[in-house]
């Protein structure tokens, strides 16, 4: 289903609507309160945007530096040009090492390439260990949010899922449910052959990959199994640990209104000879899947993104329809840009148009991505490639024809204003009008006064 149709269903989903309202407290009010404690927030944003741009401009150099450092610490770095390549690499790692079971912590890139499907097809059992992702794995649903994947689900729905899958008595308390999930996961953490994690950033100067989490599950995934596999996008590289410190001032605050997350895990290389813990093998899969295409293009600012989710949390469209309406891995304004860019503008449909250009996403973005401008550029591509409905293109062309010809426009406006005023009748409201039923299906259209300003003004000047 396309955005418009799915959104329509979501607008009438009472459970979702309640969940979306509940989420606003932490995501919107919490963020605002936490940002307010930083007196140079804007300066940090500006610095971070420039830092991310600098990385994107020299992406190859930073990635090569990262690879050298990671390899020097015993990791193996793999380069995946496409989603299929990324999956093939990880399936091969699993096969080469007779991996039967995988524990996994949250990774949006793994969702992007549909890694779980590929591993399952190869006979590997994958267990999501982020609580939200675990819930969705039970429910067989994709995440609806990049930070809080199960934000669309109610407590009651989760309780039922646990009854169905854990075969335990029904719980009502969230803490008790969390404890139950933790107990179920524990044995898997200890038994898994391979752990797969994402990376919030990878650091060039040290060859480090890192995760920022609140649950601690990522640490179990990255340290316990004998093999640790990291999958992440090539744009996640940053030059130094200092740069990481800067970005950490922005990321948790923007994402969930926290000054820092409960866990912040930097992983550098494999277990050394004199160490007790850590994986024997570390594989880092750096995924392109459309990213290099953005470098140097008019969409390159999108590569600054540090995946905090603030743009969707503040988007009035997302707030009303939720993440699943966007149809792919990335919801909200970032998805309205990334989905067309990664999956093809031909299939983008309404996504670039799913914005009033209210500008909230741009204002809250920690790395100042001009999301409305990027969506507009996609609309330009759609217009130029004739991808929008003929009626819409025709309407714009007719409008363009008239507004460029003042005398003709004045005449048309006079006729239009009178006609619409006449339809409006005594209560001066248009209840239905062909061509604008998108408006009149939910709202009346206040009718024009009847004469245009310019004709009234001209009459006044003559007097």
């Amino acid at each position: 289903m396309f955005f418009k149709q799915t959104a329509s269903v979501k607008l009438n989903d009472a459970v979702l609507q309640k969940a979306l309202k509940n989420a606003k407290g932490k995501f919107v009010d919490g963020r605002a309160a936490s940002v307010a404690t930083i007196d140079n927030w804007e300066a940090i944003r500006t610095h971070a945007a420039a830092l991310r741009d600098r990385v994107i401009d020299s992406l190859d150099a930073y990635l090569i530096e990262f690879e050298q450092k990671a390899v020097s610490r015993g990791a193996v770095v793999h380069w995946a040009e496409t989603a299929d390549e990324a999956n093939a690499i990880i399936v091969k790692i699993a096969r080469d090492n007779s991996v039967k079971t995988v524990t996994k912590s949250k990774s949006m890139v793994s969702e992007e390439v549909a890694l779980n499907d590929a591993l399952e097809a190869a006979g590997v059992t994958v267990l999501e260990t982020d609580l939200g992702e675990y819930i969705l794995q039970l429910a067989k649903e994709p995440p609806s949010h990049i930070v809080a994947p199960a934000v669309h689900k109610s407590k009651e729905q989760v309780a039922q899922l646990f009854v169905d899958h854990h075969h335990t008595p029904r719980l009502t308390d969230i803490a008790a449910m969390t404890r139950e999930a933790r107990e179920v996961l524990r044995s898997h953490f200890l038994a898994a052959d391979m752990g797969i994690s994402g990376a919030n950033f990878v650091i060039a100067e040290t060859g480090t990959t890192l995760t920022v989490t609140n649950e601690g599950n990522a640490d179990m995934v990255t340290t316990i199994p004998r093999i640790h596999c990291v999958i992440t996008g090539i744009e996640k590289v940053i030059p130094t640990l200092d740069d990481f410190a800067t970005l950490m001032r922005l990321l948790p605050r923007s994402a969930i209104g926290q000054s820092i997350t409960n866990y912040l895990t930097l992983t550098t290389g494999i277990k050394a000879a004199d160490e007790q813990e850590g994986p024997e093998q570390m594989h880092i899969v750096l995924v392109d899947a459309g990213r290099t295409k953005l470098v140097g293009s008019e969409m390159s600012e999108m590569l600054r993104c540090i995946r905090c989710g603030a743009c969707m949390n503040h988007c009035p469209v997302y707030q009303n329809v939720g993440g699943h309406a966007y149809g792919w891995v990335y919801p909200g304004p970032m998805g309205s840009v990334l989905t067309p860019v990664y999956k093809g503008i031909e299939d983008a449909g309404d996504l670039p148009n799913a914005s009033t250009f209210c500008g909230e996403c741009q204002v809250v973005c920690p790395v100042k991505i001009p999301l409305p401008d990027l969506m507009r550029k996609l609309r330009e591509q759609q217009f130029d490639m004739k991808l929008r409905p003929a009626s819409e293109r025709w309407a714009i062309k007719v409008w363009g024809f008239f507004v460029s010809r003042p005398a003709l426009y004045a005449l048309a406006a006079r006729i239009g204003a009178r006609f619409a005023a006449w339809i409006g009748g005594r209560d001066r409201l248009i209840h239905t009008l062909p061509g604008i039923d998108g408006w009149t299906s939910g709202r009346d259209m206040p009718a024009p006064e009847g004469k245009t300003f310019r004709e009234l003004y001209a009459a006044r000047q003559i007097k």
Partner: protein
């Protein structure tokens, strides 16, 4: 001081009263107001629909029409954002230097109405006629997105309304989009309507007699939803109408 009035296509077509209220406010303040008769639209509907060339053509037309004015004033934050921000930063960003400079000049002399009254004319003391124009009931104010986030319109209309004696009750989420978004309101009407609904709820909670704003598109969207849901009572005005004593 020669002030060009950019009336906006919506005001011209739908609510000329806002244009005349703007004219009155400017003339009462001693401005020589010029209204170029050939003006049509700033180009925003085309620009935001991806029709870049048409919007560039319209931008050049606007530039020519207001070339001789010391200032240009528009009763809209959205059209003002289009001219002040998007013409310069996007549409003519890579134009020949001479043309780019012309658009930079246009941007610098172009003001949204409340911004012009407060920050250029510095109307700190209102004329007695102005003060008497205050709206008799209580009001609440909706901040339109482009005005607020593109050109920082927030305190200017509130200052003017307060000085003219209006009783302003702030609503929750006054800065949240009402769902208008130009063609968005038609293309994705169902979502747009829900956003308008949220706005109407916040307006109703204040109990204000009228909701005031600075962009006719948003006002039509809010009024349209109020009326459709059976609220015939809450009035909807542009701040210029209130300030000029022309809220009718």
């Amino acid at each position: 001081m020669k002030v060009g009035l950019f009336v906006t296509c919506l005001v011209d077509l739908v609510r000329p009263n806002i244009g005349f209220a703007t004219l009155k406010l400017l003339e009462d303040a001693g401005c020589e107001v010029i209204v170029p008769a050939t003006q049509t639209c700033c180009g925003q509907p085309g620009y935001n629909s991806g029709a870049r060339e048409i919007s560039q053509r319209l931008a050049r037309k606007v530039l020519a029409e207001f070339k001789d004015c010391d200032y240009v004033v528009a009763p809209s934050g959205s059209c003002s954002g289009q001219v002040k921000i998007h013409y310069v930063q996007d549409l003519f960003r890579n134009a020949a230097e001479s043309e780019r400079i012309e658009f930079e000049k246009l941007s610098a002399k172009w003001f949204e109405l409340s911004d012009f009254l407060v920050n250029v004319l510095k109307l700190t003391v209102l004329s007695s006629e102005f003060a008497a124009a205050s709206f008799p009931g209580s009001i609440t104010y909706h901040d339109s997105c482009a005005g607020l986030r593109e050109i920082n319109i927030k305190h200017q209309p509130r200052k003017l309304l307060a000085r003219s004696g209006c009783n302003l009750i702030e609503m929750n989420d006054a800065e949240k989009c009402c769902g208008f978004g130009g063609t968005f309101s038609i293309k994705l009407g169902e979502i747009s309507t829900r956003m308008a609904d949220n706005k109407c709820v916040n307006i109703a909670v204040t109990g204000a007699d009228a909701v005031i704003g600075g962009d006719l598109g948003c006002l039509m969207n809010i009024e349209g939803r109020l009326r459709r849901t059976g609220d015939a009572k809450t009035q909807v005005y542009h701040f210029a109408e209130v300030l000029a004593g022309m809220a009718k």
